[in-house]
C-alpha cells in the first residue's frame, strides 16, 4: 500500500460521515424489515457487525491468492458460509430472536454493505484495517437500525426491548399506540427523518 492508512478514520468514518445506511443508502431492505422492535434490530446489527468483520478479515487474508475472474464468487461463498454459521448459532442460543428474524439473517448475504466493503476495501487492504473497516461499517449500520427500531417500538407498541415504557395511565387517558409505526412504510419515513437530521447537521454532505 502506497498510502498510509489512517486507522482512526477507517474505523470512525462509517459512523457518521460515510455511514452505509444514511449516506451510501445501502442495506435499506433489512432496515425496513427488522426494525419493528428494538431487540431484533440489535441482534441483526450485531450479526452484521460479526459477519462483516470476519468476512473482511478472511477476504483480506486471501486477497493475494484470489483469481480476479472469480473474486465475486469467492466473496459470496465466504459471506454465505459466515451467515449460515451465525444463523445456526442464533438458533442454538437465541431461539426466540432467530424466530423473529427468520429469513432476514439469511438475507444478510445479499446485504449490499457486505459486498460493497469486501470489494472496495478488503480486496486491497491488510487484515487489521479490513477488520476495523468491517466493524466500523457494521456499527454504522447497527446505529441506524437501533435508532429506527427505538422509535418504531416506542410509538408503535409503547414498549422498549419488550418492557412497557408508556405508562398505563396514558392509555387510560385515551392514548393509543400508532399502528402505522409497525408497518414497513414507516421504517422508510423514519430513515428519511434520520437522513434529514443527519444532513442538516453535516453541511459537507448537502448536495447543491
Amino acid at each position: 500500500m502506497a498510502d498510509k492508512i489512517n486507522y482512526k478514520s477507517v474505523f470512525f468514518n462509517p459512523f457518521s460521515k460515510d455511514n452505509p445506511v444514511v449516506v451510501q443508502i445501502l442495506g435499506i431492505c433489512s432496515v425496513l424489515a427488522v426494525t419493528a422492535k428494538l431487540e431484533p434490530a440489535l441482534v441483526m446489527g450485531m450479526s452484521v457487525i460479526a459477519v462483516l468483520a470476519f468476512a473482511n478479515v478472511i477476504i483480506s487474508l486471501i486477497r493475494n491468492t484470489i483469481p480476479t475472474n472469480i473474486r465475486i464468487i469467492v466473496q459470496l461463498v465466504v459471506v454465505a458460509g459466515l451467515v449460515v454459521i451465525v444463523d445456526q448459532l442464533l438458533k442454538a442460543y437465541a431461539y426466540d430472536v432467530s424466530k423473529q428474524l427468520s429469513v432476514f439473517i439469511g438475507l444478510i448475504i445479499t446485504n449490499c454493505i457486505l459486498m460493497g466493503r469486501l470489494e472496495a476495501f478488503a480486496m486491497g487492504n491488510k487484515p487489521w484495517p479490513a477488520f476495523l473497516d468491517g466493524v466500523g461499517n457494521g456499527i454504522g449500520y447497527a446505529i441506524i437500525l437501533v435508532i429506527v427500531g427505538f422509535f418504531r417500538e416506542l410509538f408503535g407498541s409503547g414498549t422498549l426491548m419488550g418492557y412497557q415504557v408508556v405508562p398505563q395511565s396514558f392509555y387510560e387517558a385515551g392514548y393509543v399506540n400508532n399502528g402505522l409505526m409497525i408497518l414497513p412504510p414507516m421504517a422508510l419515513i423514519v430513515v428519511a427523518c434520520v437522513i434529514w437530521v443527519h444532513r442538516s447537521r453535516n453541511k459537507e454532505l448537502q448536495e447543491e
Partner: protein, 235 residues
C-alpha cells in the same frame, strides 16, 4: 505460478468450497442437539400458552411435564391408538384429506387437582404462510378454555394480530356442541353473525384472509375430534 490460469481457478474454487462445506457441516452437527431442544421447548411453551400457563424461562420442560399429565393419539372414532402425541407432525396430518386416516394428538393437562383440560393442536394456512395453534377444552368436551395462535409471516398489525391475546381470548367460553350438533367456531367479520347457530368470534379488520384461514383451520382440524369430544361430554 499463474494465478489467472484455468487450472488454478478450478483448483482454488474446489479447495475453497470443500473447506467452507466442512466448516458448515461441523457447525451444523455440533449445534443440532441444542437446536432441537430449543424447538421442542418452544412447542411446549405454545402448548402451555393455550391453557394460559407461562412456563418459567429455562424450565420449560419441567413445567411441561408437571402440567401435561398424559398425551395420546386418537382416531376419528375417538379411540386411543397411540401415546406419543408430541411426535405427531400436525402439519402433515392436517393435509390428509380423509379424516379417518389422520392421527389426532391430544394433550391432557392437569392445571389443578380435579381440573383437567384437553389440548388439541390445529394447523392451517394464512395469507402468506402457515398458521397454527392450540385449543384447550374443559373436561365437558365442549367449552373452550383457552386458545393460542401463531403464524409464520402474516402482515404485522393486520393478519399477525391473531397471535395477540385480544384475538385468542375471544374463544374462551365458546361451545362447540350446540344441541347435540358439532360446530367448530366460526370467524366472521365484526358485527356479522354466521348463518347457522354456531358460536363465533370477530375476525380482524384488514386481516380478512388470515381470519378466514383461522376459521377453516378450526373447521378442518377440530371436526375430526368430534367423536373424541363427545365421549368426554358423556363422561
Amino acid at each position: 505460478m499463474n494465478k489467472q490460469s484455468n487450472i488454478y481457478t478450478i483448483v482454488y474454487i474446489i479447495v475453497m468450497v470443500a473447506a467452507v462445506g466442512t466448516a458448515l457441516a461441523f457447525t451444523a452437527m455440533s449445534l443440532r442437539p441444542k437446536q432441537v431442544d430449543n424447538a421442542n421447548a418452544d412447542k411446549m411453551k405454545q402448548i402451555l400458552a393455550s391453557v394460559r400457563i407461562t412456563p418459567t424461562p429455562g424450565e420449560v420442560t419441567t413445567d411441561f411435564e408437571k402440567y401435561i399429565t398424559a398425551q395420546f393419539i386418537v382416531n376419528e372414532a375417538g379411540e386411543k391408538v397411540g401415546d406419543n402425541a408430541f411426535g405427531v407432525d400436525v402439519a402433515a396430518e392436517s393435509k390428509i384429506k380423509d379424516a379417518a386416516d389422520r392421527k389426532l394428538p391430544v394433550y391432557e393437562c392437569r392445571i389443578a387437582e380435579n381440573d383437567v383440560k384437553y389440548i388439541i393442536p390445529v394447523y392451517g394456512a394464512g395469507l402468506w404462510g402457515p398458521i397454527w395453534g392450540y385449543v384447550s377444552f374443559d373436561s365437558d368436551g365442549s367449552t373452550i378454555y383457552g386458545a393460542y395462535f401463531a403464524h409464520q409471516g402474516e402482515t404485522p398489525g393486520l393478519g399477525a394480530e391473531i397471535e395477540k391475546a385480544a384475538f385468542s381470548d375471544q374463544f374462551v367460553g365458546k361451545q362447540v356442541f350446540k344441541g347435540g350438533a358439532f360446530y367448530p367456531i366460526e370467524v366472521v367479520k365484526a358485527g356479522q353473525k354466521p348463518a347457522d347457530e354456531s358460536d363465533y368470534v370477530d375476525g380482524i379488520s384488514g386481516g380478512t384472509i388470515t381470519s378466514k384461514g383461522v376459521g377453516s383451520m378450526l373447521d378442518n382440524c377440530l371436526t375430526p375430534y368430534k367423536a373424541f369430544l363427545q365421549t368426554l361430554s358423556e363422561k
